[in-house]
Symmetry: C2
Subunit: 410 residues, 2 copies
């Protein structure tokens, strides 16, 4: 079963907002066997919206539209879809009650909010529990178009609770099975060469994709077919072959963020964690705490951007800083020990580097990062090199620190 996504809004085209909705929708639809074959972003213009809708309705059985449902003048999706489907807007008492409920105690009702209770006459209206814009479900020639709000939290709620269950009930879908392998130690081309003969011999129902990430490559094996158990058997057989080829270089067989894997590991072993961050500036801590329930194992961090914070709060010696410099193996070892001591944890990670764009020297160019991970009395370190820009240098250092810790504790 194929779907297309249409995202509406000038802000997407001018780049003031990054479309994160489509990726989320692609993931969730895939899980239930609906494959997104195209995503189209268009401006808030009736003719362009209609052209895009018409083309998508011709190609796919399911068209999911987000955005353009706000109370303001620049939002025209509702009227435009009425035009396309040959219907008109009517006042809905039920939607009006929902708008009132959502706004209750926050802002006074005005004419613009009231306009959100106007809905297309010839469609199924689905209430939006978490926002004031309702969802419209149109059907035509056995195909479905659903118009949803573009606010991510509202879209994800209505998709999960209403739209996906209804799509599953209406359409019979193929079984899709994904398995993702996170592979370390390979550049993309070298890995591809190593896997070439295996890949060439894959059965027709399977497809392999390479998804490089900073410092890692994810390999995604996708199987699809009418019979789930057959597809699963096929994916299992080929996965076993892949494991035999790559062995220890496979870091994980799940496409789970490393911060979640670390959390599970620490909980299982009943260990606590802290971080001492210089160049990553809190990014590692922010990733760890993005996981719900992280307070069970994460106690805190010392972000030591200034050298005096490294000495005073982490106990890095002045001598080390003077002789070896802040970006050195010795400094990150003292930092990681300092974090475990000050924050009383079983494990810790530490980073110190030159994120850039300036601050590099001949000996320590921009992009140089020293990383340490500690598990009780065991400490291991690594040096990250190659400058890929400030943001990427920090992201890679965060990835590497968490990977190093996982390896050590596991």
């Amino acid at each position: 079963m194929f779907a297309e996504i249409i995202t509406i809004g000038d802000e997407l085209l001018i780049g003031q907002v990054t479309d994160t909705n489509s990726a989320w929708m692609g993931r969730e639809l895939n899980k239930v066997g609906i494959e997104v074959i195209r995503v189209v972003s268009v401006r808030d213009r009736a003719d362009e919206i209609i052209e895009a809708v018409d083309a998508s309705m011709k190609r796919a059985n399911i068209v999911l539209v987000t955005g353009g449902l706000g109370p303001t003048k620049d939002d025209i999706t509702k009227q435009t879809l009425c035009k396309y489907f040959g219907t008109r807007l009517i006042f809905s008492e039920a939607v009006f009650e929902n708008v009132k409920r959502v706004l209750a105690g926050k802002i006074p009702m005005n004419a613009l909010n009231k306009s959100q209770a106007m809905v297309p006459e010839d469609c199924i209206v689905i209430n939006n529990r978490v926002g004031s814009a309702s969802v419209s479900w149109f059907e035509k020639d056995g195909k479905v178009l659903v118009s949803m709000p573009g606010v991510p939290q509202e879209m994800t709620t209505v998709m999960s609770e209403e739209v996906i269950p209804r799509l599953c009930a209406k359409f019979r879908t193929d079984a899709i099975v994904h398995r993702t392998f996170t592979v370390q130690n390979y550049p993309e081309s070298v890995l591809a060469e190593k896997l070439e003969s295996w890949e060439m011999a894959l059965p027709a129902c399977l497809k392999l994709a390479y998804l490089p990430k900073p410092g890692l490559i994810r390999l995604r094996l996708t199987g699809r077919g009418q019979n789930r158990s057959e597809v699963e058997a096929c994916v299992n057989t080929e996965s076993a072959k892949l494991e035999a080829i790559l062995g220890e270089d496979i870091l994980d067989e799940e496409d789970t963020p490393i911060e979640i894997l670390i959390g599970e590991l620490l909980k299982k072993k009943n260990l606590t964690l802290s971080t001492a961050e210089s160049c990553t500036g809190g990014s590692i801590a922010a990733r760890i705490t993005s996981v719900a329930g992280s307070s069970e194992y994460f106690k805190g961090s010392i972000i030591a951007y200034a050298n005096e914070v490294k000495t005073e709060l982490l106990g890095v010696s002045m001598e080390t800083l003077e002789k070896r410099g802040a970006v050195s193996e010795e400094t990150v070892i003292e930092m990681v020990k300092g974090a475990m001591k000050a924050l009383k944890t079983d494990c810790a990670v530490a980073t110190s580097g030159i994120a850039g764009p300036s601050g590099g020297t001949e000996e320590k160019p921009v992009g140089t990062v020293w990383i340490a991970a500690a598990y009780k009395s065991e400490i291991c370190t690594m040096k990250q090199e190659t400058n890929r820009g400030r943001e990427m240098n920090v992201e890679r250092a965060s990835n590497n620190a968490l990977l190093l810790l996982r390896k050590l504790v596991k």
Copy 2:
């Protein structure tokens, strides 16, 4: 001058990668008067790529294609474009030299890397200084299609250094002037009502858009026309009217991230900053340090997720924690003071709250966050309420903490 963007790759449709390239391209192209009117993401399939390319070439004068240029089997953009433009792949010595240079000392050259030196015969080949995939510039009937790598750092480099300058040289573009106002204290519908009569009277060359963000609304006024000074005059006149209507509620007239504004303010006043973070878990520090040069004013943070870290490193009293709880005005005041003292800074922000999804109580439901900002002896606090999910609660708290600090220091 209109452009369309086509992003190619199964990983975009299945949602394993979020397309951030298009938003970046939209912003940069807009600055030079090229308006992106559509973004289309398609799978790695020749027929779908050709259909999308053909449709875009009919609608726009400029078509920018990203992705599908890697060395592996699933990448087919180059061959497919050859088919569309009726040309073939030939070996380029110059591109081969570049591939060798880019890979030098990192990985050994193999047949797959060598295939990256195959380029379309009938196009202008532009070297990619930072990666092994070259850029192809096709022309047909006065229109241009440029195929670029999808890796963000490679795409941004070739766009900035090569593609945008060449597009500007080839096409005469309209003048586009944007002004963005960050407005606080208003729900979208209330703001829209307040601005309605002004908005209705805007001249035809101007357009207004509402861009809500957690806790804020950005208003974007866009003018376009052939004569830059006329468009600018028009934008200035209407901006002055808008300022008169909204006064103090306009937080900023630039679409600059708050962490950059804070950095400029602190540098100007020669002040230093630290953070004490509980529920934001390092997110504020990570945002501050995402700004190049932040080491000039940012000294560090104490992330105090566990209560004992609050008492031991920040000096929050046991009594306060017991009587008022960790999520209280008293606690964040002691935290912010503790950060200034421990990290020896002039300013600080502190957060403590219940990010969720669990941990809430009747009195302090999920979403409750206390925030404090301090500037020397002055301290101000605020309470954030309403649960919008863990991620959004943290993002809003970070925004609010930085806004509170800015207001205090300014």
